[in-house]
């Protein structure tokens, strides 16, 4: 229907951004597959490198199995989180051969999951199964490992662009997660839902999964499952935004609370969505705060370029709508520079209050703005342009005829100019009076700001901020327990562990946003 053209442009953009964001890992995948394919044809002793890589990947997956099992047994989420964190680095090394071999060695011969998963991998993968994989085959111990393998195959299918298969498999997996109903699956479930929604989004069928997501969201909230909850809220918001259903999105936000312990990436997304909703509802101050948070919380690297661009575009518009001018340096950042060119020109037009230039820029970049879904927001800027124009005039002239105002601002008529000036006076944009009989506007003398309560107010704001900062820092301080008794060796070991953890987090951050790079 009428929605089709917009959807398709959105999709194109999605894919574009996606491919941009993923260019690196995807290339690697292809490369590795080529080599993997060669490996089957050439004698084995020459391609030890590939085999080794495969073996390493398989070993990593197996290592994750151990972590998941441990996590399920000890009821400690952190092991599972640790395993999931390294999925992103594993993702680049996933090949059909690696997966096929892991699957055969992890399931019993007649296991239902085994045949299903192998079915999705295609016949090429079956050839790579070696006899020793079959012999070491042991039964999967926990459902966590089962779900994890499903997840890996899903990710693999997504990277291969096999959407139809992906949808099928994700349906099965989501059903599985819901039927199993285990708390130890929480972290995995969040990931599963994420890819589930991603598959549907890429196949343009987002509306279908809304009931499933809403159900899952309700369940997750009841169980205080923070990871799944935060992921699902974002997925639902994204779902509504896709169809421009801001009304529903707003209701969802007002009826849910976003979990405090959510990861930074999810929080950044949520803040972006919130900012957009508030911007549309004309609550610019709140929108501005949310967007600022979104921009700051988002990881600053090239992988998240899509998100940074989108968030900054919106931030610029909201700033302009609030009557502020964004900093020039923002437009110079290498990641943002190219994407922000149209927005830069709009900013310039608003800054000088030139209505003609504004209209020209708007017309020239209408397609870009439409694709970004920012067109209607930018249309609202028109009256900001006029306001700036009037302010400039009021500052430069102590007395000016309405006729000249009308000419300067390219308005339709003198009457219009009179109304507009009158409204600006009422809204506090300028301080002036109009003389109707003689047809001119007279600016009032500048009042001495220090004779008002204004400085006191500003002073209070700053002191309040400083005190709050101090109190917050005091609250945030942590003191190690029993630090004195610890052995030097223990400290060293703990440090080592921490270091690897930090590294893993950094890696995961880089990759977390690949899929939603475009947001």
């Amino acid at each position: 229907m009428s929605e089709a053209p917009r959807r398709s442009t959105r999709l194109n953009k999605n894919q574009e951004d996606d491919s941009k964001a993923k260019a690196k890992p995807a290339d690697q995948d292809v490369e590795m597959e080529d080599t993997a394919a060669k490996a089957e044809t050439t004698p084995e002793n020459k391609v030890l490198g590939v085999k080794e890589l495969e073996a390493l990947a398989i070993a990593d997956i197996k290592q994750h199995f151990v972590l998941f099992t441990k996590s399920a047994k000890t009821h400690e989420a952190r092991f599972a989180i640790r395993a999931l964190r390294s999925v992103s680095s594993l993702r680049k090394r996933l090949t059909s051969a690696v997966l096929a071999r892991t699957i055969t060695s992890s399931y019993g011969k007649d296991d239902e999951s085994r045949s299903r998963l192998l079915g999705y991998l295609g016949s090429e993968a079956l050839g790579s199964i070696t006899p020793e994989d079959e012999t070491v085959a042991s039964k999967v111990e926990t459902p966590e490992v089962d779900v994890y393998l499903h997840l890996l195959v899903m990710i693999f299918l997504l990277d291969q662009g096999q959407l139809e298969k992906g949808i099928e498999l994700s349906n099965v997996t989501v059903k599985m997660v819901q039927d199993l109903n285990r708390r130890s699956l929480d972290q995995l479930a969040a990931k599963v839902y994420f890819y589930y929604a991603r598959f549907y989004e890429l196949s343009e069928r987002l509306a279908e999964i809304r009931p499933t997501l809403l159900n899952a969201q309700r369940t997750a909230t009841l169980r205080r499952d923070d990871d799944t909850q935060s992921t699902l809220i974002n997925l639902l918001l994204r779902n509504y935004f896709h169809y421009n259903l801001y009304d529903q999105a707003d209701k969802l936000v007002s009826k849910t609370t976003f979990p405090e312990n959510a990861t930074n990436n999810q929080l950044a997304r949520y803040m972006y969505y919130l900012g957009r909703i508030k911007a549309i509802q004309l609550e610019y101050t709140e929108s501005h705060q949310s967007l600022l948070q979104a921009v700051r919380k988002a990881p600053q690297n090239n992988v998240t370029a899509g998100f940074q661009q989108e968030a900054n575009k919106l931030l610029i518009i909201v700033q302009l709508l609030m009557g502020e001018i964004p900093e020039r340096s923002l437009f110079r950042q290498p990641v943002l520079r190219k994407a922000l060119v149209p927005y830069f020109q709009i900013t310039q037009a608003v800054r000088v209050g030139d209505l003609n230039k504004f209209q020209e820029t708007l017309a020239a970049h209408a397609a870009t703005f439409n694709a970004d879904k920012n067109y209607t927001l930018i249309l609202r800027l028109r009256h900001n342009v006029i306001k700036t124009g009037i302010r400039m005039i009021s500052l430069s002239y102590s007395r000016i005829s309405l006729r000249d105002v009308c000419l300067k601002l390219h308005l339709d008529s003198e009457e219009d100019a009179e109304y507009i000036v009158a409204k600006s006076i009422r809204d506090g944009v300028i301080d002036a009076t109009i003389d109707h009989e003689k047809g001119y506007m007279r600016s009032k003398e500048n009042v001495d700001i220090y004779s008002t309560n204004e400085p006191q107010h500003a002073f209070h704001q700053r002191i309040g901020f400083c005190l709050k900062l101090h109190n917050d820092s005091v609250k945030a301080m942590r003191f190690p327990l029993k630090a004195v008794n610890q052995d030097a060796a223990e400290v060293e070991a703990a440090r080592d562990q921490e270091r690897t953890l930090v590294q893993e987090i950094a890696e995961a951050d880089e990759d977390m946003d690949e899929d939603h790079g475009d947001l």
């Binding site: 801001y246 009304d247 879904k373 109304y419 309560n453 006191q456």
Partner: protein, 263 residues
């Protein structure tokens, strides 16, 4: 009730409504009968929504007439209810044949929100409209232009938009809008002018006879000088600036307490 029966009723309704001197009370009766009948069809349940295109189209057409009927009977809450129900048909049932009235009604809804000064709802509603229609559809453009002129303060254009409405139903809301605007202009004038000749005030406020102006001036408590034929607005220059002692004391105490905590 069978679908044939409902169809018969719906036809009777549309015939009555479209006749040149429609009996609105009778339409209302038809509508309430139809709503009961539709509940038995798939009007409210949306479980297997892809099946009953015929029933859904019927329900939508009835709702559309209902929405227009509410405007003719000047019943805004009823109009809003009909529009809320229609949203589902417009947004979620993409397999229905497009309705010729769709954008006209959406435009009306926009204007309705505007006339009640619900600007944020107005913008939210705007976002759901297809961009193509947003730029080209005269019914939608009318509301968008109106909102822009309102925000800028070009009230002249709002006034002149009366003459080029897309359909006569729009006039109802524009009349409501005019009252809002008149108050807007009045409050702007109070701030912008120190005094204003009554005759000019009349033109500014789109009044044509003197009596209306005088009544309006009384309502807004303007001082009218009959000799000069001028209205004077109370200026705010003689307002005294008080030192907000209470507030300052509170703030200082707050600083003292927090400083104490730090030291």
């Amino acid at each position: 009730m069978a679908i044939a029966e409902v169809k018969r009723l719906a036809q009777a309704l549309s015939k009555e409504y479209n006749s040149p001197n429609a009996d609105l009370a009778k339409c209302g009766q038809y509508l309430s009968q139809l709503k009961i009948a539709l509940i038995e069809l798939s009007y409210l349940t949306h479980e297997n929504k892809h099946d009953n295109i015929e029933e859904l189209t019927l329900a939508r057409d009835v709702l559309e007439i209902g929405a227009q009927w509410s405007i003719r009977t000047k019943d805004i809450p009823s109009f809003e209810r009909y529009m809320a129900q229609l949203q589902t048909y417009y947004n979620d049932h993409s397999n229905l044949p497009a309705s010729p009235l769709k954008y006209n009604l959406i435009g009306l809804n926009l204007l309705c929100l505007l006339s009640q000064n619900r600007i944020s709802d107005f913008h939210t509603a705007l976002e759901t409209i297809d961009p193509e229609q947003l730029h080209n559809n005269p019914a939608i453009q009318h509301s968008i232009k109106l909102e822009q002129s309102l925000m800028e303060g070009s009230y002249n254009r709002v006034w002149s938009s009366r003459s080029d409405v897309p359909s006569k139903e729009y006039l109802f809301f524009i009349d409501i809008l005019m009252d809002t605007i008149r108050n807007e202009i009045a409050s702007c004038s109070e701030k912008a002018y120190t005094s204003l000749p009554l005759k000019d005030a009349g033109t500014l406020l789109f009044f044509t006879n003197m009596e209306d102006i005088l009544n309006f001036a009384k309502e807004r408590k303007w001082k009218v000088n009959p000799g000069e034929q001028k209205a004077y607005f109370h200026s705010d220059s003689d307002e005294k600036i008080n030192i907000p002692a209470d507030q300052i004391i509170k703030q200082t105490m707050f600083y003292a307490r927090d400083m104490d905590r730090i030291v």
